[in-house]
């Protein structure tokens, strides 16, 4: 009985924790987006203001540029042979859509990278 208690104590007293944060690309500047004007700004203007896009998508004669900044937070807890590992990833995204002449038609943005949290796998 006491050996079982000792084993239980070993399991409880020897945890290992992991906190890891990784980011991908720089964050698009929300203020810079307001300077872009659909129907007027061009692809050159967008690249000058936001920098090189993460992805260029050809949409028939039209095109779209994606800007994405992501934050991943990883939380781990190990108790000898049992572990919990949670990865929470959120991103800031900006899509700039252009017509066949390279003129900006639409801009869409979502800023969610701040929602990434350190939390355990069973938490909601």
């Amino acid at each position: 009985m006491s050996s079982r208690l000792l084993l239980a104590a070993c399991l409880l007293l020897a945890p290992a924790c992991l906190l890891d944060r990784s980011t991908t690309n720089g964050r698009p500047d929300p203020a810079a987006l307001s300077t872009l004007t659909p129907g007027k700004s061009t692809a050159t203007d967008v690249v000058r203001i936001l920098g090189a896009p993460s992805e260029v998508v050809q949409l028939g004669k039209r095109s779209a540029y994606r800007y994405e900044h992501s934050v991943a937070k990883r939380t781990g807890l190990w108790l000898i042979v049992i572990g919990s590992l949670n990865t929470d990833t959120h991103s800031d995204r900006v899509w700039a859509f252009f017509d066949e002449h390279g003129v900006l038609t639409h801009v869409a943005s979502s800023f969610e990278s701040d929602r990434a949290e350190f939390r355990l796998s069973w938490s909601d």
Binding site: S2, S3, L6, L7, C10, L11, A14, V57, Q58, L59, G60, K61, R62, A64, R66, W78, I80, V81, I82, G83, S84, L85, N86, T87, D88, T89, H90, S91, R93, V94, W95, H106, A108, S109, S110, E112, R115, S121, W122
Partner: protein
Amino acid sequence: MVRLIGRALGACALALLGSSCIVLVFSRTRTHQPLEEARIAELVPGATTFDEALARCGAPTDVWELAGDARAIAYGWVDSRGDNVNLQLPLSRDFTPNLELEQGRKNLYGVVLFFDAHDVLTAVQRGSLLTLKRESTPSAELE
């Protein structure tokens, strides 16, 4: 007393050895924020425009072209749970066999909005983004 100490040391040795070889991991992966149902319900095929969809749903996670100069935008998210038994045997410096048995559910989900060449919404589909993209992309080239 000696026997008790021996058993305790044996148990600790077993536990320490086991920590590097066999690990039961309860893992969870969450990526992106799910699109709210209320926003999806506001989308009306035949009426909602591309501009309105972007204003209501925000920046998509993926965009691709469709046949006839049409296009699709996708909102995807992941919330997967996996209970993994990870067995590692460090046999040598350069060789570590790793056997991973996974049981659990993986949930890769998303909503795809299809627009015609005039940027009017034609359909809203739910499901695996990869499958929906494969089924609707004119070229077979997919990452």
